[in-house]
């Protein structure tokens, strides 16, 4: 009669956790992940944050330029926090240059931390990103592409884990209705970001922006969707205050009542 192996014995005790552990060992998942600092989010992410040696895909929720800007700021904020952790440079590779650097500086990605690389085609951008990842002297690499197939993302994922550098792959919209995240990919996480109305202020100004942050897919975890407040000057996100703690929105009836009471 064969003796039960230690693996099968431990499997019997807590099968799922043990299997995950074994998987993590074989895949060489590093522990250097960057938490968002929001408990609700970090708890649901399998690695407790953005994995520091993996491929992450981002896309705008719709093909409108506003969602595009929101997604850009979201990944710029993550890159800024990676750069602030290690004090290194971020490489941003793209084909068409329409970024506005003063705006990026306002989420913590200053010009001294940012190196731009412009390729002629998506293939060039992917090659530049792979070079940058394998070099390993960067805090983070951002690549903006319209197309990246399964082979390309697999290569990038391997390069990221070789160079221990995270890659934030921004998939821009090609067509109006088709979401770029619908094609298969070997990314660790896939995110979809959209604009939400900001909270109304008691005066006629624009408040802190709100985003719909949707984790479409992640390895070893479940998708989720959250409404978050946009990046601050250091790239940190925040949860909106619970509705009970919010400042009261200006109400016309209140103003009228107070005016009447003052007049009276």
């Amino acid at each position: 009669m064969p003796l039960p192996s230690p693996l099968s014995a431990s499997l019997a005790a807590n099968p799922v956790a043990k299997l995950r552990e074994a998987l993590a060992q074989t895949h060489g998942i590093s522990s250097c992940s960057l938490p968002f600092g929001i408990g609700l989010m970090d708890k649901r992410l399998a690695t407790g944050g953005v994995d520091g040696a993996g491929l992450h895909e981002f896309a705008a929720a719709s093909s409108s330029l506003n969602d595009d800007a929101a997604a850009t700021l979201f990944l710029a904020g993550i890159a800024a926090r990676f750069a602030a952790n290690t004090g290194q440079t971020v490489c941003w590779a793209m084909t068409t240059f329409d970024l506005y650097a003063p705006g990026l500086e306002q989420v913590g990605l200053g010009p001294e931390k940012l190196l731009y690389a412009q390729g002629r085609k998506d293939v060039d951008v992917l090659a530049i990103a792979e070079d940058a990842l394998r070099d390993g002297s960067l805090a983070c690499v951002i690549a903006e592409v319209k197309t990246a197939d399964m082979t390309a993302t697999r290569r990038l994922q391997l390069a990221a884990s070789d160079g221990q550098t995270p890659l934030l792959l921004y998939r821009r919209h090609r067509a109006r209705e088709r979401c770029p995240l619908s094609s298969p990919s070997s990314a660790m996480t896939r995110w979809r970001i959209g604009c939400m109305p900001s909270e109304r202020l008691p005066w006629p100004g624009v408040g802190r922006a709100h985003w719909q942050v949707e984790l479409v897919r992640q390895r070893n975890g479940d998708p989720f969707s959250l409404e978050l407040e946009a990046c601050d000057a250091k790239g940190r996100l925040a949860l909106p205050a619970a509705s009970g703690d919010r400042a009261a929105a200006p109400r016309r009836t209140d103003a009228r009542n107070s005016a009447i009471s003052r007049a009276a």
Binding site: S64, L65, N66, D68, A69, A70, A71, T72, L73, F74, A76, T86, G87, Q88, T89, D98, L99, Y100, A101, P102, G103, L104, E105, Q106, V107, G110, P111, E112, L114, L115, Y116, A117, Q118, G119, D124, A127, I128, D131, A132, D135, G136, S137, L138, Q164, I193, C195, M196, P197, S198, R200, L201, P204, G205, V206, G207, A209, H210, W211, A230, A233
Partner: protein, 516 residues
């Protein structure tokens, strides 16, 4: 007072130097032709102490009686429309150094700079390559004429005699047979012997003017009166004492070569040879204390066709691994054809590179901070212009606020006014705008065939045109607003004009950027 009328006195009275009317002939003609050729008289001046002194004068100025050594104020008093320019002794000597290097590379291995305005070339055994001494002199004169110089050449047995004859001889080209130096120099002034100024002054006091005056004098009293140096110079010029020329040495670009036994054509063998060459080169660079900014690989094929491969470095480097990787990236551009016989690796452009502290040993982080290798690698892949950083440019107009700089420079940031993350290439016109003038954001507008209702807005932020650029921007004003539409879209838009003065703009609304 006795010295006043001497021949060696160069500063003559200016009015005496004017050409006289009778028997003018050649002198008159030459004056006219020089004036016609050169136009305004020009002098170069150098500030010495409290005054500007002429160091050189053009032929027109010389004809007008201006001499090197005169004070500029004096010269200006004599000649009204005098063109005075600053002398640049450093640039002159740099040019002379370059000429000496050129001579050392092209005409003779032993060449050096002589004084402030001359070159010494040791022509022993080299002139036959150029068709004899006389033809060589003609070629040299033509070469210098093309460069814009007038030159005088003397070929003599000793450097001293050549120096004297070139400066004080009677024709532009003097060829002297060996052993005739003393005779040829006899009539020249003492200044031709490169004597010290004190020695010249005392010689003038003794009434010695020409070199021939020194020949019969006893050597011991001569040495006592005019200094031992004078005797030495005299002996050197006559060939009694040797005078070596210290040649300029051209720094050669580092180059290593491998001749191959058999032609090679496979990528593996080519990579192997390149890696051997790089190893040799790194040792050479280390010895000289330099780093390569550009490395040029020349592969000579069997059919004699050279194949060139160039690798640039954004910072001086002699890292063998880095250089090998850079060549590996470019290897596909090499066409071996029937095979490569010889490979050279040269460094056409290098910079000094000293020892550096190794930060990585002290660093606790696993990653290096040095971006230069990565920048080189990405430049090799995507091209020089593809890699850049953005730095601030001092302008309030948003589209002019950024400027591209090279990756290894340090950029500066921007003031922290609210700015969008993406900027439209050109501002786009908005239609159907409803806004309260003059300083409220619009209530609604249409952009790209879509209607937006604005629920909140910040602004205006007024930005004036840059009147120093164009006349159109003289009064132009933009009022920027940050607005949020009903669905949560946040825009950056502006109105031309301040809403009060019609000169500042036509009150049209434009979309310029997007906030996330």
């Amino acid at each position: 007072m006795r010295e006043m009328g001497r021949r060696s006195e160069h500063a003559e009275h200016p009015f005496k130097a004017m050409p006289s009317d009778e028997g003018c002939g050649g002198a008159c003609l030459s004056t006219l032709s020089w004036a016609a050729l050169w136009g305004k008289p020009t002098v170069l001046v150098l500030r010495t102490g409290q005054r500007d002194v002429i160091t050189a004068a053009c032929p027109v100025a010389l004809d007008l009686g201006l001499r090197p050594g005169m004070v500029v104020a004096h010269a200006r008093a004599l000649v009204a429309d005098l063109d005075v320019k600053d002398a640049e002794p450093d640039a002159d000597s740099a040019l002379l150094d370059r000429l000496a290097l050129h001579a050392a590379r092209h005409w003779t291995p032993t060449a050096s700079v002589s004084g402030e305005n001359g070159l010494w070339l040791d022509l022993t055994g080299t002139t036959h390559l150029f068709g004899g001494e006389r033809r060589f002199c003609r070629r040299l004169l033509a070469f210098l004429k093309r460069l814009g110089f007038t030159a005088r050449i003397a070929i003599a047995g000793t450097p001293g005699a050549a120096h004297a004859l070139a400066r004080f001889g009677d024709s532009d080209v003097v060829l002297l047979e060996a052993g005739q130096e003393a005779q040829a120099m006899a009539d020249l002034p003492l200044a031709a012997l490169r004597l010290e100024p004190e020695a010249l002054a005392s010689a003038a006091r003794f009434g010695l003017e020409r070199i021939a005056d020194l020949y019969p004098m006893p050597r011991a009293p001569l040495a006592r009166r005019l200094g031992l140096k004078t005797v030495e110079r005299l002996d050197q010029a006559r060939g009694l004492v040797a005078e070596p020329i210290m040649p300029v040495v051209a720094t050669e670009a580092p180059i290593v070569t491998r001749h191959l036994l058999e032609p090679i054509g496979t990528p593996e063998s080519i990579t192997q040879v390149i890696s051997d060459l790089v190893d040799d080169l790194v040792v050479m660079l280390l010895e000289r204390g330099i780093g390569a900014r550009m490395v040029l690989l020349t592969a000579v094929r069997v059919d004699g066709e050279p194949q060139r491969l160039e690798v640039g470095a954004s910072r001086a480097t002699r890292d063998a691994r880095h250089l090998k990787r850079m060549f590996g990236l470019r290897l596909a551009q090499l066409e071996p054809g029937l095979g490569i016989e010889t490979m050279h690796l040269a460094v056409p452009y290098h910079e000094p590179l000293g020892a550096e502290a190794i930060g990585a040993l002290l660093e606790t982080s696993r990653k290096g901070h040095d971006l230069a290798p990565l920048v080189d690698q990405m430049t090799a892949r995507a091209g020089e212009a593809a890699l850049f950083r953005l730095s601030s440019h001092e302008s309030d107009v948003p589209e002019r606020a950024t400027t591209r700089i090279t990756p290894l420079k340090t950029p500066t940031g921007w003031p922290s006014w609210k700015r969008p993350v993406r900027l439209l290439r050109r501002p786009e016109l908005l239609t159907n705008v409803v806004a309260l003038m003059p300083d409220h954001p619009p209530r609604r507008f249409t952009w790209r065939r879509q209607d937006y209702r604005v629920v909140a807005g910040d602004g205006p932020e007024r930005i004036h045109g840059e009147w120093w650029r164009t006349g159109r921007e003289k009064w132009a004003t933009r009022d920027y607003f940050r607005v949020e539409a009903e669905g949560g879209q946040r825009f950056w838009l502006f109105r031309r004009g301040d809403g009060v003065d019609a000169d500042t703009g036509d009150l049209s609304w434009h979309m310029h950027g997007l906030f996330g």
